[in-house]
Subunit: 415 residues, 2 copies
């Protein structure tokens, strides 16, 4: 373990005790001061960002990736606005609940408290820097950020502005630490820092997440990929089904709650297929179907085994035909990524059974999978969408960055 990363960890652990003690008013004042400082320093941030953009161009990085890296005056204003919105949210820290009295008179309950030190490893979007800081700080945590090497100059400039904002209201700037050695070795060492980091959240593509899961000894909250399914039951309202399919696939292509796979009951296949084709082809979507689908249409391509497990993030959707609800559920549980799946049905029993048996973070009856989102769910913020089962599952709001401890009020009780 290098001295560099260990000393960062130690520093974060020490300062986390101080951050945990801040009142809601103090934290909100900090967030607002940081928002102002980001706007004030926008020219400096853009200058540093331009260096990253130029370096990325020199390396021949794709235009799509460069776009994710690029900041603008408007994007910085958005970052600042995001922090102001976080400052307006309720802060759950210090709340106590479920205080019960036991037979011996002990009062036992739970207090909501910060996790302590949160590590975030992310890729090229520099706006994550301000966003992640804001959410962790609001919940009384210290945070260690390790951004992508491509965005190092941008991230450093943003962090400078955050530090300046915190200083202005006399809050500890070490509440945010940036890993400015962006080598792979240091990232791997950070994943083994369980002595100092309480939770690690990777934000980025499947490769990054898999790397963190494989190598981390720090508990990880996995924000996963979404191979989301829509199952059209034999008892579906077909017009509703077509509307939901069109929305869930085409409203936005590159996000994790977009539908990637259709499962259709054989009894309504003939009737619904032309409508689905019409709705999706009008958006230029390619459909890849199994043999039963191919037999009914020559505009559809053949799906391979690989297609059933794909998160396309693109204008493609797979289509599979089943003979029963049980077959649909088995198929979905085999190939989904535990994100969001929907059934379209007017049958009470089938809807409830789908709710019960589908193994995913969000299970829908008669609605688009596109709703899986912390803002839509009413959390006011989103750290990501967890596809794992421990601690947090589904869209994560501020609560996911907290834990509880038992607090016990006694009067001299002994055992």
């Amino acid at each position: 373990m290098s001295n560099y990363i260990e000393s960062l960890g130690k520093k974060a652990k020490a300062i986390s005790r101080e951050v945990a003690k801040l009142t809601m008013d103090e934290k909100n004042a900090g967030l607002v001061a940081v928002a102002e400082e980001l706007c004030k320093q926008s020219q400096t941030i853009l200058k540093e960002n331009a260096k990253d953009i130029q370096a990325a161009k020199d390396k021949g990085i794709s235009e799509a990736l460069i776009d994710r890296l690029r900041l603008s005056e408007a994007r910085i204003v958005d970052m600042a606005e995001g922090l102001r919105q976080i400052s307006a949210l309720n802060d759950p820290i210090g709340d106590m609940r479920d205080i019960v009295q036991r037979p011996n008179g002990l009062k036992i309950g739970k207090m909501q408290v910060p996790l302590g030190v949160i590590g975030i490893i992310y890729e090229s979007r520099p706006n994550v820097t301000a966003d992640a800081f804001g959410l962790c700080f609001k919940t009384g945590n210290a945070v260690i950020l390790r951004g992508g090497s491509d965005a190092l100059n941008s991230n450093k400039a943003i962090v400078q502005a955050i530090w300046a904002g915190l200083c202005q209201v006399a809050l500890p700037q070490d509440a945010l630490l940036l890993v400015d050695d962006v080598s792979r070795e240091i990232a791997t060492e950070m994943m083994r820092l369980h002595k100092y980091i309480d939770v690690l959240i990777p934000r980025g593509g499947a490769g990054l997440i898999e790397n963190v899961v494989e190598n981390s000894t720090v508990p990880v909250i996995e924000t996963g990929t979404g191979n989301c399914h829509i199952y059209v039951d034999e008892f579906a309202d077909l017009d509703m089904a077509v509307q939901i399919i069109e929305n869930a696939k085409t409203q936005r292509l590159g996000v994790c709650n977009t539908a990637e796979s259709l499962v259709i009951h054989r009894k309504i296949l003939k009737e619904i297929l032309p409508k689905v084709e019409q709705a999706l082809f009008s958006h230029g979507i390619e459909i890849r179907g199994d043999a039963s689908v191919l037999a009914l249409s020559n505009q559809i391509k053949a799906a391979t085994e690989e297609d059933w497990g794909m998160e396309y993030l693109d204008g493609i959707i797979s289509m599979r035909v089943v003979d029963s609800l049980d077959e649909a559920i088995a198929h979905i549980n085999q190939y989904n990524t535990g994100h969001s799946d929907a059934i379209i049905t007017e049958n009470y029993h089938n809807g409830m059974k789908f709710h019960r048996e589908i193994d995913a973070a969000a299970v829908y009856i008669n609605a688009s999978t596109r709703f899986t989102d912390g803002f839509v769910f009413g959390f006011g913020a989103e750290i990501g969408i967890s596809t794992q089962k421990l601690h947090a599952r589904g869209p994560m709001g501020l609560d996911a960055l907290t834990t509880t401890k038992y607090v016990i009020f006694g009067d001299g009780q002994i055992r």
Copy 2:
């Protein structure tokens, strides 16, 4: 990855879908049938246990460890009784809560569901086999057990009885799988089976737990060690303090919620020290103190830096003097293991500050740390005491073996 462990994982994942669907009545019938079968097969189990005991003796294993390995008619009856008690508990699976209606009419709430596949790696106590099965099965999970090599014959016999019980009421016996290749390599492979195992719970000593944390890619729930502190504030009721200290240290020596460290405010040191000595020495407890304590007594040994972090699990306690509550909190947060710590005080501000600032699973005002226990807390069962912050913290009841998923009731909503 060997075929052996991968096929166990696959089998568990597949059967977990079936176990998750069982009703509360079906699961309870299974638990009762297994309890009966354990009693019926007790002679076979004791015969197999005798083989393990003999092998342990031949290997020269200590009498204390052999005692943990040893079963008796009475211990088997206890195991069966434990399963009957679990059958009587409420089963949270399928409960829905917090269903709210969003502006667009979507109803969004949480359903409590099994984790899926739980892996448990444990040491020599064979009674864990029945206990762990019972808790996991009650919550609708499949379980893979990997017990210690010393107890393999006993564990196999217990598992045979469990399988027989499940068969009798036509429930899937694969709900419980036993890793009967007890090599280290297979254990390590089991820790990397995140494709099939949803959570891994190590039950045993610090070495086992550290090994699992270091090597597992499966999310781990850490059941940790307890270096529990009692801080006697300057405003303490000293008689209450002495009673609580005596209870917390001496009521049971070898358990994780026993007090291992006293922190005393300097202002009351002179007055309380003789009383503490009298209370603890009468139980043969050794006190190891810092310089301030040594200056007042020649019956106390000198503590070294190492003592502050020790979980003795033995008749020893450390004693440290502080000049303020802040110093006490800083000391405890530096050396505790995040288990249980108590303040003895009649001062409102100091008690509330201690509650807020101590970083532990259970924080007490004026009560013995010995109460940190799932049964005492009223959970009716205990899988262990989590000293980590994610998912479950403190005593873990059945809820710790479950997760939630969002269930959404729509009416055709699109985004």
